[in-house]
Symmetry: C2
Subunit: 502 residues, 2 copies
């Protein structure tokens, strides 16, 4: 490596270490910190972020990037060096577009919006949140202008989470999902009685839930020797390094799914981080490439693996041993069906595989309407109710169960929501490609063993970290651009069989 | 506040936030981090420390300090502004004396010395550690020269932990302690059989130990709503802010004292941090003033409160409820005596109130001998054995139980050890002054309630943080410079009564 590149790397490592320190403070904030420590912690986080921004968005950094770029001997688009410079150039250009004053304003507006949202949600009083939402939308609009765009205002915001993806592309895919999924959902809804899941709602002591969650997380391939399981209110995964990729879960003492599938979901995220190539360490390439691809890994473990028949045939006996009374008389097949019961509900994070995407499409559409000035904050609750009725046939009786349910709009991070549904589509496409390239994966999955699938994911997804854009990655791994068709094939086969559809 | 001072404060806050971020990473390292995460974490910590040093030891910082100093309207030695500038000037001068190259070398030598010490200790093989110790001693010598000194080479090192204290002063005090304590120890040793403590060594389930530890920590005044109790191998307290001052404990499943008195000890440390005045927040004054005064607060809660007769008369019934079988037939008086049993042993951290100071005096003397070149690393084990025999009448059969027992000499932080014993002396002197100024404290203590003592400590010690030097603080609080006499009066009365001495 030449000296220009080495000097760049030194700076990159420093900025990366700061980023990871921020993640440690954020992890601790959610897991161990007493509530009283919040004010000081927010100051500490703000200071670290400011220092990081100062280091990265400096003139010096721009010169270092360009000097290192010019010094590269050859342009091999698969080399770590090339990919790093490409990423840094893009990220540097973006960072320089947001003035300090704007970044501070975002922090102030979001800082005030969050407690207002908490209170509004707790009291089912949208009016408390409305003026904050109006400010957040204005910031998102301003941000879009600062970044700049050619086609749609939503494009530059979406690009921050799913680089290279266009709003029009997402819209076309989501419209196809809507059209094609609706008949399946209708057919399933007509046979809603076919699946009984009442036994999931019983007292399940948390200690045993945790024991089993650790067991299944290990079973899907999460490496606890390079990780940690914490308890929180709002679960997340975080990587403090590839050898310290943590998961968090919340536990309901009277409902099994939240802790169990939450753990599998976060394990999928963390396995992606644990699987990044060691030689990417201490650079921004040492992490998942986009929010959508990241979500594909969590949904893969939560749903495609964790809600499969083979998985429960293999692991249900152990669960039954831990909860002999609660699960007395329940078979592995009963359990498999119960955790896949389809039911249009009001809350996104509780949605099943068939209805989940509709929750996202709703948010994607309302978010654009707000960004484009077609929907003002005051009209959001009514618009939300109308769209829930249109898409899922249910209407939230309160805003707490409606437009106040998610934290996301306390920040101007519009463009994030669609990546949840993109994750479902990517997951199905990756799974289909994996099983086509290595049919033994299907046999292993039928035995409840995802090891060969994980090998394929490590090779085709995890190890690359952020070297490739999501579009490049999905093309390399599956030979196709993103399509909703594998997802449709997956759910049609799975739920057709579950609900006895012809 | 004028604009010069405000600009200084802005910088001070930034550096302070970085310092606290370092503490969060260090806390997490000991509590939650998987071992595999260590390499990345050490890099992260090194980066944060380097950035912090770069910010603080900059020319700009020196100019900011002096501009702010010149701008102060009046010189009120009790004002936060005056005390802050005084502290910053001193600390800045010190930091500038250590070249980056030296700081890096300290980090490298210590980084290599620590695992060598771990292995040497585990294998009882001093030879593995010896070359590292020689390097550490050389660094301590170099550091003393870099800081500079008038009288003794040990002075500038001691000053880092106990600002304003001279080696000669400590030596005189320690010699007096040796002389006066020896007859008491001899008299007690002759009546060793008088106290039975065998019931402390039994199976005590850790969950109940933790429950009781939280109860007594609250009873002495530790505020859990602004703290957190973690489990670690080597206990410590840390303050991530005054509203997030944490304690850690280790738990032995078959011995009560480690978890119980360890928790009280760390609670004392954390209460000092929780008690600093809010208007010192985000400055380096928002913490305990010296290692010795800090230790006085931990020893106050661990020993003067936690090993008092009144405390156990009040709280033993609750302990007995938690361990009815183990403590069946034991009275509060039996328990009080057992936790105060005197026994010359090999291990510092397990020592009682009478023998503890001898462990420290030994280290203080050997440390000086090594620093002054009178004792080479190779001769340490023999010198240790000889001095243990001289001071405590016991000889370690292995170096693991001898000169390898403490981690401290993996770093050139010579001068730290004496502060442990100074803490015992400060504690007794503060307690005597408190009870003289407010005799009701004695009545409350007899009821097992330290609340009025804590009020006095908050007023006379805690709230000042690092505004005053330890010498100033002890003079203001007690009207006297540090003396060993209150400690001698305290132990003579307590152990005379316990052992029935005339």
């Amino acid at each position: 490596m030449n000296s220009h590149f080495e000097r760049l790397l030194e700076k990159v490592h420093e900025i990366h270490d700061l980023e990871k320190a921020i993640q440690v403070l954020a992890w601790d904030k959610e897991t161990n910190m007493p509530a009283a420590g919040n004010t000081a912690r927010v100051q500490q986080l703000t200071t670290l972020r400011r220092i990081q921004h100062r280091l990265f968005a400096s003139d010096e950094m721009g010169e270092l990037i360009e000097a290192a770029a010019a010094s590269l001997d050859s342009i091999n688009p698969d080399s770590n060096e090339f990919c790093l410079i490409r990423y840094l150039r893009r990220h540097y250009t973006d960072e320089r577009k947001l003035p300090d004053e704007f970044v501070r304003r975002v922090s102030q507006v979001s800082g005030a919006a969050h407690p207002a949202w908490v209170q509004a949600r707790a009291e089912n009083n949208f009016a408390l949140f409305q003026p904050h939402l109006a400010q957040v939308v204005a910031l998102a609009q301003e941000m879009a202008e600062l970044y700049g765009y050619e086609d749609e205002k939503y494009d530059p915001l979406l690009d921050k989470f799913e680089h290279g993806m266009k709003t029009a592309n997402v819209r076309a895919i989501f419209n196809a999902v809507k059209t094609e999924l609706k008949p399946l959902l209708t057919a399933v809804a007509e046979r809603a009685h076919a699946i009984d899941n009442h036994f999931l709602h019983q007292p399940f002591p948390v200690a045993q839930q945790q024991e089993f969650a650790r067991y299944v997380a290990t079973a899907v391939g999460y490496d606890f020797s390079r990780g940690h399981l914490g308890t929180v209110v709002h679960p997340f995964a975080t990587s403090l390094s590839r050898d310290d990729a943590r998961i968090t879960t919340r536990w309901y003492p009277d409902f099994l799914n939240a802790g169990l599938f939450g753990t599998l979901h976060e394990s999928g995220h963390a396995m992606y981080e644990q699987g990044t190539a060691p030689d990417l360490a201490r650079t921004p390439l040492a992490r998942g490439t986009s929010s959508g691809i990241h979500e594909s890994q969590s949904r893969m473990m939560e749903n495609i693996v964790g809600r499969s028949r083979g998985f429960w045939q293999a692991h249900f006996p152990r669960l039954q041993t831990l909860f002999p009374t609660q699960l007395s008389g329940v078979t592995a097949g009963d359990f498999y069906r119960a955790v896949n019961k389809v039911q249009p509900t009001l809350i996104r994070v509780e949605a099943d595989e068939l209805t989940y995407n509709f929750h996202i499409i709703l948010r994607f559409e309302l978010e654009q309407a707000m960004l484009n000035g077609e929907l003002v904050a005051a009209d959001l609750p009514a618009a939300w109710r109308a769209k829930m009725q249109e898409l899922l046939g249910v209407t939230p009786p309160t805003d707490t169960e409606g437009c106040l349910q998610d934290v996301h709009w306390t920040r101007p991070s519009f463009g994030y929501f669609p990546t949840y549904a993109l994750g479902n589509l990517y997951a199905a496409q990756l799974y289909e490609a994996a099983t086509q390239q290595n049919p033994a994966i299907l046999d292993d999955m039928a035995q409840g063993n995802p090891a060969s699938l994980v090998v394929w994911l490590r090779e085709n997804v995890h190890r690359h970290g952020r070297k490739y854009t999501p579009g490049e990655l999905i093309m390399q791994a599956t030979g196709q651009p993103l399509s909703h068709k594998p997802f449709m094939r997956y759910v049609t086969a799975k739920f057709g069989e579950l609900y006895g559809l012809s």
